[in-house]
């Protein structure tokens, strides 16, 4: 495995050029953007929970009014027999 390693070593040396200068204020800008990201995620999460609770409440109200588990009163009378 020495041959591929030697080739990789050459390419690695080719890649290890001089590093570009880091712009000033990178950490401050990234932290500000990260804070915005956290805030946006928090808002989205709150909206999601609010929608979930609203849907659950609406379903409970509808179920208590409509009572879909009860059989509706029969509208068909049994056939007349034996008179």
């Amino acid at each position: 495995m020495s041959f591929p390693d030697r080739k990789e070593e050459q390419v690695r040396r080719l890649l290890a050029g001089p590093r570009p200068p880091v712009p000033a204020g990178l950490a401050v800008a990234a932290a500000a953007r990260g804070d915005r990201l956290v805030r946006r995620r928090r808002v989205l999460r709150r909206i999601g929970w609010a929608l979930l609770f609203a849907a659950a409440a609406a379903f409970a109200v509808w179920a208590s009014l409509a009572r879909p588990w009860e059989l509706p009163p029969s509208e068909v009378s049994p056939p007349l027999q034996g008179w």
Binding site: A16, P21, V22, G34
Partner: protein, 167 residues
């Protein structure tokens, strides 16, 4: 040590992390986007015939790489609580590579060292050869089979070799 400011905890840790790792991460980003960076990338290759001799001074040659790095660092800071116990550098590099993979078509061509390679080949070369990430880990990170990862790396190394020999 720096004086404790009003946002001491995570902010101070994050600032120390950026101070230590930003140079290496920006280098990774510049390699991926194949932007001029310091402008010395062509000088390393020995001035290959046909290469553009854009020898601008050290400065603003890599807006795309900076944008990628800024986004990755912002995500790292947003997840800092979770990332801190893990490896922040690894997390940021992962975000950086994912962001590059999403927007790779913007960075086709360019004067950088890896300009001839396809996006996946650039990722394979930078992760496995330059950064020394194990092939299995890199393959899992990019969502590729290990065999494909190995083939990509080998092809990228082979494609980078002729320039080296011609120089």
């Amino acid at each position: 040590m720096s004086p404790v400011d009003r946002r001491s905890g995570p902010w101070a840790e994050f600032e120390a992390f950026v101070a230590g790792a930003a140079g290496r991460l920006l280098h990774v980003a510049v390699l991926l986007t194949a932007e001029p960076g310091t402008g010395a990338g062509d000088a390393v290759g020995g001035g290959v015939g046909g290469g553009t001799g854009s020898g601008s001074g050290a400065g603003s040659g890599c807006p795309g790489a900076r944008r990628l790095l800024a986004g990755a660092l912002a995500r790292t800071y947003a997840d800092w609580r979770r990332v801190r116990g893990d490896d922040p550098y690894d997390h940021t590099r992962r975000e950086l590579c994912a962001a590059y993979a999403r927007t790779a078509r913007r960075y086709r061509g360019g004067p950088g060292v890896l300009a001839r390679l396809a996006p996946q080949e650039r990722l394979a070369l930078v992760l496995c050869v330059h950064e020394g990430v194990p092939e299995e880990v890199a393959a899992a990170q990019l969502g590729l089979p290990v065999d494909r990862m190995r083939a990509l790396t080998a092809r990228a190394v082979a494609a980078m070799r002729p320039e080296r020999e011609a120089a």
